[in-house]
Amino acid sequence: MEIFALDFMQRAWIAGLIVAVICPLIGSFLVLRHQSMMGDGLGHIAFAGVAGGVLLGVGPVISGVVATVLGAIFIEKARTKLKDYGDMILAIFFYSGIALAIIFIGLNKTGGFNLSSILFGSLMTITTSDLWLIATLGVIASCFVVMLYRPLQYLVFDETSAKVAGLPINTLNMALTILTALTVALAMRIVGILLVSAMMVIPVACSLQTAKSFSGTILGGIGYGLFSVFSGLILSYYLNLAPGGTIVIVGTICFICSLVYKITNSKKITKETLENEPCAICAHSEATMGEKDES
Protein backbone atom coordinates (compact mmCIF):
# COMPACT_ATOMS: atom_id res chain seq x y z
CA MET A 1 0.00 0.00 0.00
CA GLU A 2 1.32 3.37 -1.08
CA ILE A 3 0.31 5.05 2.17
CA PHE A 4 2.77 2.86 4.11
CA ALA A 5 5.42 2.50 1.38
CA LEU A 6 6.35 6.11 0.67
CA ASP A 7 9.31 7.43 2.69
CA PHE A 8 7.66 10.69 3.77
CA MET A 9 4.51 8.83 4.82
CA GLN A 10 6.52 6.36 6.89
CA ARG A 11 8.12 9.24 8.77
CA ALA A 12 4.71 10.89 9.22
CA TRP A 13 3.34 7.62 10.62
CA ILE A 14 6.15 7.19 13.11
CA ALA A 15 6.11 10.83 14.29
CA GLY A 16 2.31 10.87 14.51
CA LEU A 17 2.16 7.66 16.50
CA ILE A 18 4.90 8.82 18.92
CA VAL A 19 2.97 12.07 19.49
CA ALA A 20 -0.17 9.95 19.98
CA VAL A 21 1.57 8.22 22.89
CA ILE A 22 3.49 11.12 24.53
CA CYS A 23 0.74 13.74 24.46
CA PRO A 24 -2.04 11.77 26.24
CA LEU A 25 0.58 10.33 28.62
CA ILE A 26 1.47 13.81 29.88
CA GLY A 27 -1.95 15.28 29.10
CA SER A 28 -3.65 12.86 31.55
CA PHE A 29 -1.95 14.60 34.47
CA LEU A 30 -2.79 18.06 33.10
CA VAL A 31 -6.46 17.29 32.44
CA LEU A 32 -6.96 15.70 35.87
CA ARG A 33 -5.37 18.78 37.49
CA HIS A 34 -7.80 21.02 35.57
CA GLN A 35 -4.94 22.42 33.47
CA SER A 36 -6.23 21.37 30.07
CA MET A 37 -5.21 24.68 28.51
CA MET A 38 -1.58 24.31 29.65
CA GLY A 39 -0.44 22.78 26.34
CA ASP A 40 -2.09 25.55 24.35
CA GLY A 41 -0.72 28.28 26.65
CA LEU A 42 2.81 26.90 26.44
CA GLY A 43 2.40 26.50 22.67
CA HIS A 44 1.87 30.25 22.36
CA ILE A 45 4.94 30.95 24.47
CA ALA A 46 6.91 28.54 22.26
CA PHE A 47 5.53 30.39 19.25
CA ALA A 48 6.93 33.66 20.67
CA GLY A 49 10.27 31.91 21.35
CA VAL A 50 10.53 30.65 17.77
CA ALA A 51 9.58 34.07 16.32
CA GLY A 52 12.08 35.79 18.66
CA GLY A 53 14.79 33.29 17.70
CA VAL A 54 14.30 33.93 13.99
CA LEU A 55 14.41 37.69 14.62
CA LEU A 56 17.65 37.46 16.63
CA GLY A 57 19.25 34.92 14.32
CA VAL A 58 19.26 32.20 17.03
CA GLY A 59 18.19 28.64 16.10
CA PRO A 60 14.38 28.49 16.39
CA VAL A 61 14.46 25.11 18.14
CA ILE A 62 16.74 26.39 20.90
CA SER A 63 14.89 29.69 21.31
CA GLY A 64 11.54 27.86 21.32
CA VAL A 65 12.67 25.38 23.97
CA VAL A 66 14.28 28.08 26.18
CA ALA A 67 11.22 30.36 26.01
CA THR A 68 8.77 27.52 26.71
CA VAL A 69 10.72 26.07 29.62
CA LEU A 70 11.19 29.54 31.19
CA GLY A 71 7.49 30.30 30.62
CA ALA A 72 6.55 26.97 32.22
CA ILE A 73 8.71 27.68 35.28
CA PHE A 74 7.10 31.13 35.71
CA ILE A 75 3.60 29.66 35.29
CA GLU A 76 4.32 26.97 37.90
CA LYS A 77 5.78 29.51 40.37
CA ALA A 78 2.82 31.85 39.88
CA ARG A 79 0.35 28.95 40.17
CA THR A 80 1.91 27.94 43.50
CA LYS A 81 1.74 31.47 44.87
CA LEU A 82 -1.75 32.27 43.56
CA LYS A 83 -3.46 28.87 43.88
CA ASP A 84 -7.00 30.16 43.37
CA TYR A 85 -6.16 31.95 40.12
CA GLY A 86 -4.35 29.19 38.18
CA ASP A 87 -6.46 29.61 35.04
CA MET A 88 -6.07 33.40 35.12
CA ILE A 89 -2.26 33.08 35.28
CA LEU A 90 -2.34 30.68 32.35
CA ALA A 91 -4.53 33.07 30.32
CA ILE A 92 -2.14 35.97 30.96
CA PHE A 93 0.85 33.93 29.72
CA PHE A 94 -1.22 32.70 26.78
CA TYR A 95 -2.08 36.23 25.61
CA SER A 96 1.40 37.61 26.34
CA GLY A 97 2.98 34.77 24.35
CA ILE A 98 0.90 35.40 21.27
CA ALA A 99 1.34 39.19 21.64
CA LEU A 100 5.14 38.81 21.71
CA ALA A 101 5.00 36.47 18.72
CA ILE A 102 3.01 39.05 16.73
CA ILE A 103 5.48 41.81 17.68
CA PHE A 104 8.48 39.66 16.71
CA ILE A 105 6.91 38.67 13.40
CA GLY A 106 6.13 42.37 12.71
CA LEU A 107 9.73 43.37 13.43
CA ASN A 108 11.15 40.63 11.23
CA LYS A 109 11.65 42.14 7.77
CA THR A 110 13.93 39.39 6.47
CA GLY A 111 11.45 36.51 6.36
CA GLY A 112 12.61 32.95 7.03
CA PHE A 113 9.51 32.19 9.10
CA ASN A 114 6.74 29.78 8.18
CA LEU A 115 3.75 30.68 10.37
CA SER A 116 1.54 27.95 8.97
CA SER A 117 4.14 25.26 9.78
CA ILE A 118 4.37 26.40 13.42
CA LEU A 119 0.63 26.61 13.91
CA PHE A 120 -0.46 23.53 12.01
CA GLY A 121 2.75 21.50 11.61
CA SER A 122 3.98 19.72 8.53
CA LEU A 123 3.69 16.01 9.15
CA MET A 124 4.49 15.22 5.52
CA THR A 125 7.86 17.03 5.54
CA ILE A 126 9.38 15.42 8.65
CA THR A 127 13.10 14.62 8.40
CA THR A 128 14.96 11.70 9.98
CA SER A 129 16.59 14.02 12.56
CA ASP A 130 13.10 15.29 13.52
CA LEU A 131 12.13 11.68 14.11
CA TRP A 132 15.11 11.05 16.38
CA LEU A 133 14.31 14.18 18.35
CA ILE A 134 10.71 13.23 18.96
CA ALA A 135 11.60 9.58 19.67
CA THR A 136 14.12 10.72 22.34
CA LEU A 137 11.44 12.91 23.88
CA GLY A 138 9.08 9.94 23.86
CA VAL A 139 11.59 7.78 25.75
CA ILE A 140 12.23 10.54 28.36
CA ALA A 141 8.50 11.16 28.89
CA SER A 142 7.71 7.44 29.20
CA CYS A 143 10.57 6.82 31.67
CA PHE A 144 9.47 9.82 33.75
CA VAL A 145 5.88 8.61 34.03
CA VAL A 146 6.76 4.94 34.59
CA MET A 147 9.36 5.68 37.29
CA LEU A 148 7.25 8.26 39.12
CA TYR A 149 3.80 6.84 38.40
CA ARG A 150 2.52 6.60 41.97
CA PRO A 151 3.97 9.87 43.31
CA LEU A 152 2.49 11.64 40.26
CA GLN A 153 -0.84 9.90 40.80
CA TYR A 154 -0.81 11.01 44.45
CA LEU A 155 0.08 14.58 43.46
CA VAL A 156 -2.76 14.82 40.96
CA PHE A 157 -5.35 13.14 43.19
CA ASP A 158 -4.64 14.79 46.55
CA GLU A 159 -1.74 17.24 46.59
CA THR A 160 -2.16 18.11 50.30
CA SER A 161 -1.93 14.49 51.48
CA ALA A 162 0.99 13.89 49.09
CA LYS A 163 2.79 16.72 50.87
CA VAL A 164 2.02 15.22 54.27
CA ALA A 165 3.46 11.90 53.03
CA GLY A 166 6.73 13.79 52.56
CA LEU A 167 6.71 13.78 48.75
CA PRO A 168 8.69 16.62 47.14
CA ILE A 169 5.59 18.08 45.55
CA ASN A 170 7.22 21.31 44.34
CA THR A 171 9.93 19.36 42.52
CA LEU A 172 7.39 16.92 41.04
CA ASN A 173 5.14 19.77 39.90
CA MET A 174 8.09 21.55 38.33
CA ALA A 175 9.36 18.39 36.60
CA LEU A 176 5.91 17.71 35.15
CA THR A 177 5.62 21.30 33.93
CA ILE A 178 9.08 21.28 32.32
CA LEU A 179 8.35 17.95 30.61
CA THR A 180 5.11 19.45 29.25
CA ALA A 181 7.08 22.48 28.02
CA LEU A 182 9.67 20.28 26.28
CA THR A 183 6.96 18.20 24.63
CA VAL A 184 5.16 21.30 23.37
CA ALA A 185 8.32 23.06 22.15
CA LEU A 186 9.85 20.06 20.38
CA ALA A 187 6.73 18.45 18.97
CA MET A 188 5.19 21.77 17.91
CA ARG A 189 7.52 22.40 14.99
CA ILE A 190 6.87 18.88 13.70
CA VAL A 191 3.13 18.54 14.18
CA GLY A 192 2.05 22.11 15.05
CA ILE A 193 0.62 23.83 18.15
CA LEU A 194 -2.88 22.65 17.25
CA LEU A 195 -2.05 18.95 17.19
CA VAL A 196 0.21 18.94 20.28
CA SER A 197 -2.20 20.78 22.55
CA ALA A 198 -5.28 18.98 21.18
CA MET A 199 -3.64 15.57 21.59
CA MET A 200 -2.87 16.39 25.22
CA VAL A 201 -6.58 16.89 25.94
CA ILE A 202 -8.98 15.22 23.49
CA PRO A 203 -7.88 11.54 23.82
CA VAL A 204 -7.81 11.90 27.62
CA ALA A 205 -11.28 13.48 27.56
CA CYS A 206 -12.53 10.47 25.53
CA SER A 207 -10.97 8.03 27.96
CA LEU A 208 -12.36 9.83 31.01
CA GLN A 209 -15.93 9.12 29.90
CA THR A 210 -15.59 5.41 30.57
CA ALA A 211 -12.42 4.88 32.65
CA LYS A 212 -12.79 3.77 36.27
CA SER A 213 -9.13 3.75 37.19
CA PHE A 214 -6.18 6.11 36.89
CA SER A 215 -4.08 3.71 34.81
CA GLY A 216 -7.14 2.98 32.67
CA THR A 217 -7.48 6.70 31.91
CA ILE A 218 -3.86 6.96 30.75
CA LEU A 219 -3.92 3.75 28.69
CA GLY A 220 -7.33 4.63 27.24
CA GLY A 221 -6.03 8.10 26.34
CA ILE A 222 -3.09 6.56 24.50
CA GLY A 223 -5.47 4.15 22.75
CA TYR A 224 -7.75 6.97 21.59
CA GLY A 225 -4.66 8.99 20.57
CA LEU A 226 -3.31 6.14 18.43
CA PHE A 227 -6.73 5.58 16.85
CA SER A 228 -7.11 9.31 16.06
CA VAL A 229 -3.67 9.56 14.46
CA PHE A 230 -4.08 6.31 12.52
CA SER A 231 -7.54 7.13 11.17
CA GLY A 232 -6.71 10.82 10.69
CA LEU A 233 -3.63 10.09 8.58
CA ILE A 234 -5.46 7.57 6.41
CA LEU A 235 -8.39 9.94 5.86
CA SER A 236 -6.14 12.92 5.17
CA TYR A 237 -4.10 10.93 2.64
CA TYR A 238 -7.05 9.61 0.64
CA LEU A 239 -9.28 12.70 0.94
CA ASN A 240 -6.36 15.14 0.47
CA LEU A 241 -7.06 16.95 3.76
CA ALA A 242 -4.66 18.69 6.17
CA PRO A 243 -3.34 15.81 8.39
CA GLY A 244 -3.15 17.76 11.70
CA GLY A 245 -6.70 19.07 11.37
CA THR A 246 -8.09 15.70 10.30
CA ILE A 247 -6.49 13.95 13.31
CA VAL A 248 -8.02 16.50 15.69
CA ILE A 249 -11.47 16.20 14.10
CA VAL A 250 -11.32 12.39 14.34
CA GLY A 251 -10.46 12.83 18.05
CA THR A 252 -13.41 15.19 18.53
CA ILE A 253 -15.77 12.68 16.88
CA CYS A 254 -14.41 9.99 19.23
CA PHE A 255 -15.13 12.29 22.18
CA ILE A 256 -18.74 12.88 21.07
CA CYS A 257 -19.24 9.10 20.62
CA SER A 258 -17.74 8.30 24.05
CA LEU A 259 -19.89 10.98 25.69
CA VAL A 260 -23.07 9.62 24.04
CA TYR A 261 -22.05 6.08 25.11
CA LYS A 262 -21.53 7.26 28.72
CA ILE A 263 -24.91 9.03 28.87
CA THR A 264 -26.89 6.14 27.36
CA ASN A 265 -25.02 3.58 29.44
CA SER A 266 -25.60 5.44 32.74
CA LYS A 267 -29.34 5.74 31.92
CA LYS A 268 -29.46 1.99 31.23
CA ILE A 269 -27.69 1.19 34.51
CA THR A 270 -30.02 3.48 36.50
CA LYS A 271 -33.08 1.83 34.88
CA GLU A 272 -31.77 -1.70 35.60
CA THR A 273 -30.94 -0.78 39.20
CA LEU A 274 -34.44 0.62 39.76
CA GLU A 275 -36.04 -2.48 38.21
CA ASN A 276 -33.95 -4.92 40.27
CA GLU A 277 -34.09 -3.04 43.56
CA PRO A 278 -37.10 -4.01 45.72
CA CYS A 279 -39.44 -1.13 46.51
CA ALA A 280 -38.91 -0.15 50.15
CA ILE A 281 -42.58 0.87 50.66
CA CYS A 282 -43.91 -2.43 49.18
CA ALA A 283 -41.44 -4.44 51.27
CA HIS A 284 -42.57 -2.56 54.37
CA SER A 285 -46.27 -3.15 53.56
CA GLU A 286 -45.65 -6.85 52.90
CA ALA A 287 -43.82 -7.20 56.21
CA THR A 288 -46.64 -5.42 58.05
CA MET A 289 -49.24 -7.64 56.36
CA GLY A 290 -47.22 -10.74 57.34
CA GLU A 291 -47.12 -9.61 60.96
CA LYS A 292 -50.91 -9.04 60.94
CA ASP A 293 -51.50 -12.50 59.44
CA GLU A 294 -49.38 -14.13 62.12
CA SER A 295 -51.25 -12.34 64.91
Binding site: R150, P151, A165, G166
Partner: protein, 239 residues
Protein backbone atom coordinates in the same frame (compact mmCIF):
# COMPACT_ATOMS: atom_id res chain seq x y z
CA UNK B 1 3.64 8.23 79.56
CA UNK B 2 5.79 9.33 76.63
CA UNK B 3 4.98 12.75 75.20
CA UNK B 4 5.30 12.28 71.44
CA UNK B 5 4.03 15.67 70.29
CA UNK B 6 5.17 18.89 71.95
CA UNK B 7 3.74 22.21 70.89
CA UNK B 8 5.39 25.26 72.38
CA UNK B 9 4.07 28.83 72.10
CA UNK B 10 2.61 28.15 68.67
CA UNK B 11 1.10 31.10 66.81
CA UNK B 12 -0.33 31.38 63.34
CA UNK B 13 -2.01 34.18 61.42
CA UNK B 14 -3.56 34.42 57.98
CA UNK B 15 -2.89 38.15 57.84
CA UNK B 16 -5.99 39.27 59.76
CA UNK B 17 -5.24 38.69 63.42
CA UNK B 18 -4.13 35.52 65.16
CA UNK B 19 -5.84 32.24 64.32
CA UNK B 20 -3.78 30.57 67.02
CA UNK B 21 -1.87 32.55 69.63
CA UNK B 22 0.78 31.21 72.03
CA UNK B 23 -0.66 27.70 72.09
CA UNK B 24 1.28 25.15 74.15
CA UNK B 25 0.28 21.51 74.38
CA UNK B 26 1.84 18.10 74.97
CA UNK B 27 0.22 14.99 73.55
CA UNK B 28 0.84 11.57 75.08
CA UNK B 29 1.46 8.39 73.10
CA UNK B 30 -1.78 6.41 72.67
CA UNK B 31 -4.05 9.38 73.35
CA UNK B 32 -7.30 9.78 71.42
CA UNK B 33 -7.60 13.55 71.48
CA UNK B 34 -10.68 15.36 70.20
CA UNK B 35 -9.93 18.92 69.07
CA UNK B 36 -13.11 20.90 69.66
CA UNK B 37 -14.16 24.52 69.73
CA UNK B 38 -16.24 27.14 67.93
CA UNK B 39 -15.99 27.77 64.16
CA UNK B 40 -12.89 29.76 63.27
CA UNK B 41 -11.14 28.85 66.53
CA UNK B 42 -8.14 27.35 64.72
CA UNK B 43 -8.92 23.61 64.99
CA UNK B 44 -8.13 22.71 61.38
CA UNK B 45 -5.24 25.17 61.39
CA UNK B 46 -3.70 23.30 64.32
CA UNK B 47 -4.02 20.01 62.46
CA UNK B 48 -2.56 21.50 59.26
CA UNK B 49 0.34 22.88 61.29
CA UNK B 50 0.93 19.44 62.82
CA UNK B 51 0.85 17.89 59.33
CA UNK B 52 3.40 20.46 58.12
CA UNK B 53 0.99 21.76 55.48
CA UNK B 54 1.21 25.22 57.06
CA UNK B 55 4.29 26.82 58.59
CA UNK B 56 3.92 28.37 62.05
CA UNK B 57 4.25 32.15 62.27
CA UNK B 58 5.90 31.69 65.66
CA UNK B 59 6.62 28.84 68.03
CA UNK B 60 7.76 25.28 67.75
CA UNK B 61 6.29 21.84 67.07
CA UNK B 62 8.29 18.70 67.86
CA UNK B 63 7.25 15.16 66.97
CA UNK B 64 9.30 12.39 68.63
CA UNK B 65 11.55 15.22 69.86
CA UNK B 66 12.39 16.26 66.30
CA UNK B 67 11.50 19.74 65.05
CA UNK B 68 8.81 19.49 62.38
CA UNK B 69 10.84 21.23 59.66
CA UNK B 70 13.52 18.52 59.81
CA UNK B 71 11.18 15.62 60.61
CA UNK B 72 11.76 12.79 58.13
CA UNK B 73 9.57 9.92 59.33
CA UNK B 74 6.33 10.86 57.62
CA UNK B 75 5.47 7.16 57.24
CA UNK B 76 4.69 7.29 60.99
CA UNK B 77 1.94 9.85 60.36
CA UNK B 78 -1.42 9.10 58.76
CA UNK B 79 -3.48 12.07 57.62
CA UNK B 80 -7.10 12.41 56.51
CA UNK B 81 -7.89 15.90 55.20
CA UNK B 82 -11.22 17.65 55.67
CA UNK B 83 -13.78 16.41 53.15
CA UNK B 84 -11.15 14.73 50.95
CA UNK B 85 -13.52 13.52 48.23
CA UNK B 86 -15.22 16.92 47.84
CA UNK B 87 -14.00 17.57 44.29
CA UNK B 88 -13.26 14.00 43.34
CA UNK B 89 -16.64 12.69 42.19
CA UNK B 90 -15.49 12.17 38.61
CA UNK B 91 -11.84 11.45 39.34
CA UNK B 92 -10.98 8.13 37.67
CA UNK B 93 -9.52 6.21 40.58
CA UNK B 94 -10.49 2.89 42.12
CA UNK B 95 -10.81 2.35 45.86
CA UNK B 96 -7.81 -0.01 45.79
CA UNK B 97 -5.69 2.63 44.02
CA UNK B 98 -6.57 5.21 46.71
CA UNK B 99 -5.55 2.80 49.48
CA UNK B 100 -2.28 1.98 47.67
CA UNK B 101 -1.37 5.68 47.67
CA UNK B 102 -0.99 5.44 51.44
CA UNK B 103 2.18 3.41 50.87
CA UNK B 104 3.86 6.17 48.82
CA UNK B 105 6.22 8.39 50.81
CA UNK B 106 9.55 10.17 50.51
CA UNK B 107 11.47 6.97 51.26
CA UNK B 108 10.15 4.97 48.29
CA UNK B 109 9.49 7.55 45.60
CA UNK B 110 11.02 5.50 42.75
CA UNK B 111 9.96 2.08 44.02
CA UNK B 112 7.06 0.06 42.67
CA UNK B 113 4.78 -1.92 44.98
CA UNK B 114 6.12 -5.31 46.07
CA UNK B 115 4.06 -8.38 46.96
CA UNK B 116 4.36 -7.61 50.70
CA UNK B 117 2.92 -4.14 50.01
CA UNK B 118 -0.02 -5.70 48.21
CA UNK B 119 -0.59 -7.96 51.22
CA UNK B 120 -0.71 -4.85 53.44
CA UNK B 121 -3.25 -3.28 51.06
CA UNK B 122 -5.40 -6.43 51.08
CA UNK B 123 -5.25 -6.63 54.87
CA UNK B 124 -6.36 -3.03 55.38
CA UNK B 125 -9.10 -3.39 52.75
CA UNK B 126 -10.46 -6.35 54.72
CA UNK B 127 -10.09 -4.57 58.05
CA UNK B 128 -12.15 -1.61 56.86
CA UNK B 129 -14.78 -3.84 55.17
CA UNK B 130 -13.94 -2.54 51.70
CA UNK B 131 -13.56 -5.93 49.91
CA UNK B 132 -16.72 -5.51 47.81
CA UNK B 133 -15.88 -1.90 46.99
CA UNK B 134 -12.17 -2.31 46.17
CA UNK B 135 -12.60 -2.31 42.40
CA UNK B 136 -15.28 0.37 42.36
CA UNK B 137 -14.62 3.96 41.33
CA UNK B 138 -14.26 6.18 44.41
CA UNK B 139 -16.94 8.61 43.16
CA UNK B 140 -19.54 5.80 43.12
CA UNK B 141 -19.31 5.37 46.92
CA UNK B 142 -21.41 7.06 49.61
CA UNK B 143 -19.85 9.71 51.87
CA UNK B 144 -19.40 7.24 54.75
CA UNK B 145 -17.79 4.63 52.50
CA UNK B 146 -15.43 7.25 51.06
CA UNK B 147 -14.36 8.27 54.56
CA UNK B 148 -13.58 4.63 55.33
CA UNK B 149 -11.43 4.52 52.17
CA UNK B 150 -9.46 7.60 53.23
CA UNK B 151 -9.05 6.21 56.72
CA UNK B 152 -7.78 2.95 55.19
CA UNK B 153 -5.32 4.97 53.08
CA UNK B 154 -4.07 6.74 56.20
CA UNK B 155 -3.75 3.40 58.05
CA UNK B 156 -2.21 1.16 55.36
CA UNK B 157 1.36 1.99 56.39
CA UNK B 158 0.51 1.25 60.03
CA UNK B 159 1.30 4.79 61.25
CA UNK B 160 1.73 5.59 64.92
CA UNK B 161 -0.07 8.93 64.77
CA UNK B 162 -3.34 9.66 62.99
CA UNK B 163 -4.32 13.25 62.16
CA UNK B 164 -7.98 13.49 61.19
CA UNK B 165 -9.57 16.75 60.11
CA UNK B 166 -13.33 16.47 60.70
CA UNK B 167 -13.53 12.93 59.31
CA UNK B 168 -17.27 12.72 59.93
CA UNK B 169 -18.22 15.73 57.78
CA UNK B 170 -21.02 15.06 55.32
CA UNK B 171 -21.86 11.54 56.43
CA UNK B 172 -25.08 10.27 57.99
CA UNK B 173 -25.53 9.61 61.72
CA UNK B 174 -25.20 5.83 61.45
CA UNK B 175 -21.97 6.02 59.38
CA UNK B 176 -20.66 8.65 61.79
CA UNK B 177 -21.17 6.35 64.80
CA UNK B 178 -19.49 3.48 62.89
CA UNK B 179 -16.51 5.71 62.10
CA UNK B 180 -16.10 6.78 65.72
CA UNK B 181 -16.41 3.17 66.84
CA UNK B 182 -13.65 2.23 64.37
CA UNK B 183 -11.39 5.03 65.67
CA UNK B 184 -12.10 4.06 69.28
CA UNK B 185 -11.01 0.49 68.47
CA UNK B 186 -7.81 1.71 66.79
CA UNK B 187 -6.96 3.70 69.89
CA UNK B 188 -7.95 1.04 72.43
CA UNK B 189 -6.73 -2.11 70.72
CA UNK B 190 -3.74 -0.88 68.69
CA UNK B 191 -2.58 2.04 70.82
CA UNK B 192 -2.61 4.55 67.96
CA UNK B 193 -2.31 8.20 68.85
CA UNK B 194 -5.30 9.90 67.28
CA UNK B 195 -5.77 13.65 67.00
CA UNK B 196 -9.13 14.46 65.53
CA UNK B 197 -10.92 17.72 64.82
CA UNK B 198 -14.54 17.09 65.71
CA UNK B 199 -17.87 18.88 65.90
CA UNK B 200 -19.62 15.91 67.49
CA UNK B 201 -18.96 16.35 71.18
CA UNK B 202 -21.48 13.65 72.13
CA UNK B 203 -19.75 11.02 69.99
CA UNK B 204 -16.30 12.28 71.00
CA UNK B 205 -17.22 11.81 74.68
CA UNK B 206 -18.11 8.20 73.94
CA UNK B 207 -14.91 7.21 72.14
CA UNK B 208 -12.13 9.81 72.71
CA UNK B 209 -9.94 9.91 75.83
CA UNK B 210 -9.09 13.58 76.07
CA UNK B 211 -10.26 16.82 74.51
CA UNK B 212 -8.63 20.12 73.77
CA UNK B 213 -10.93 23.05 73.29
CA UNK B 214 -9.49 25.83 71.16
CA UNK B 215 -10.54 29.41 70.96
CA UNK B 216 -7.39 30.84 69.33
CA UNK B 217 -5.51 29.42 72.33
CA UNK B 218 -6.30 26.47 74.61
CA UNK B 219 -9.46 27.11 76.65
CA UNK B 220 -9.64 23.58 78.01
CA UNK B 221 -7.39 20.51 77.92
CA UNK B 222 -8.16 17.33 79.79
CA UNK B 223 -10.48 14.36 80.12
CA UNK B 224 -13.14 14.39 77.41
CA UNK B 225 -15.94 13.83 79.97
CA UNK B 226 -14.74 16.87 81.88
CA UNK B 227 -14.91 18.76 78.59
CA UNK B 228 -18.58 17.87 78.30
CA UNK B 229 -19.21 19.09 81.88
CA UNK B 230 -17.47 22.36 81.09
CA UNK B 231 -19.57 22.72 77.97
CA UNK B 232 -22.79 22.24 79.95
CA UNK B 233 -21.63 24.70 82.62
CA UNK B 234 -20.10 27.41 80.47
CA UNK B 235 -21.34 26.58 76.95
CA UNK B 236 -18.32 28.22 75.40
CA UNK B 237 -17.19 25.41 73.09
CA UNK B 238 -19.67 26.34 70.39
CA UNK B 239 -20.59 29.96 70.00
Amino acid sequence: MEKIIKIDNLSYNYGEGWILHNLSLEITKGDFLAVIGPNGAGKSTLLRLLANILEPTKGDIRIYDEPLDTFKHWEKIGYVPQNPARNQKDFPIKVREVVELGLVNSGNIFKSLKSKDLLKVNAIINKFYLEDLASKKLGELSGGQQQRVFLARAMVNNPEILLLDEPATGIDTEAKAELYQMLGDLSEQEGKTIIMVSHDLDLAVKYAKNAVCLDHGVCFFGDVKEALNHHHKHGYFYR
